[in-house]
């Protein structure tokens, strides 16, 4: 169980890292939203799952189970809220008339 938790956490850190690199490297706000909306969701999901599993590892009790359930509820909330937030930001950007960067258009 502990090994699975460690594997999940390291995978989560990897996706967090790529999301941040994407956030820094991508050319305009829409493409950055791809990095933020996807990479962060899976990164947080994996890390929280790993923490919830690790919490159940030493000694099963009601208190530990409750804490794990709370961590899982954070994971579910992030899974629903993160795409919704990036949808709201994208709508604000489109309504304000931010033009998307294109291959032939060059500068954003």
């Amino acid at each position: 169980m502990s090994t699975v938790a460690i594997f999940l956490m390291i995978a989560g850190v990897f996706f967090f890292t790529t999301a941040t690199i994407g956030l820094l490297r991508f050319p305009d706000c829409y493409t950055r939203m791809h990095a933020a909306g996807k990479g962060d969701t899976l990164g947080a999901l994996l890390l929280l799952l790993g923490l919830a599993l690790y919490n159940l590892n030493d000694g099963f009790s009601l208190a530990a189970l409750l804490v794990s359930l709370k961590i899982l509820s954070i994971a579910v909330f992030i899974f629903v809220a993160n795409p919704t937030a990036s949808h709201a930001i994208a709508k604000a950007a489109i309504d304000a008339g931010v033009r998307p960067w294109t291959r032939k258009g060059g500068k954003p």
Binding site: F15, T18, M33, K38, G39, T41, S73, V80, T84
Partner: protein
């Protein structure tokens, strides 16, 4: 009792029932005092948000939809992993091989809930995010032509429609 008030009562009741497990997990106390407090809090919150959270009145199809939604989740999680590998490979690629574009298309989904599930699924799957929905017309930002074409085949829309029995 008028029909409208009865519908409202049912909605408040279903919302409270959905909120109560959350109270149980987040409070972590199971004595009589805290359980009573939880019932009161759930009822008040459900009453305040009675026309906000749940707007439908017919709950007979709800169990079937929930079962189908949980059957849909594994496929969605698989797509999320694919999307992250896609974004990771793009972010680490030295030349950034992207060709972003906005795509507009119409979708036949009717209820608000199915539209939300479809929009969030689009955002979580490889190469596409939903930017705007106006009356069933979706504006989607795609990272490449291939991602947009994959979306326009309508495979995911069929899956979402199947959850809510709209196919």
């Amino acid at each position: 009792m008028p029909v409208y008030a009865k519908d409202e009562m049912i909605r408040v009741l279903v919302t409270s029932l959905a909120l109560f497990p959350v109270w149980l997990v987040w409070s972590g106390m199971f004595d009589a005092f805290h359980l009573t407090l939880g019932v009161i809090a759930c009822a008040v919150v459900a009453w305040l948000s009675r026309d906000l959270l749940i707007t439908r009145t017919d709950f007979s199809r709800l169990p079937r939809e929930m079962v189908r939604f949980f059957l849909y989740l594994p496929w969605l999680l698989y797509q999320v992993v694919l999307a992250n590998v896609h974004v990771a490979s793009l972010a680490l690629h030295p030349r950034l091989p992207i060709d972003p574009q906005l795509v507009k298309f119409r979708s036949g989904l009717k209820t608000d809930l199915s539209k939300v599930v479809f929009a969030n699924s689009i955002t979580l799957t490889p190469g596409t995010i939903t930017a705007d929905i106006v009356d069933g017309e979706y504006t989607v930002h795609a990272l490449s032509k291939k991602a947009a074409d994959d979306l326009l085949t309508g495979d995911m829309e069929k899956r979402v429609a199947r959850i809510f029995g709209e196919d």
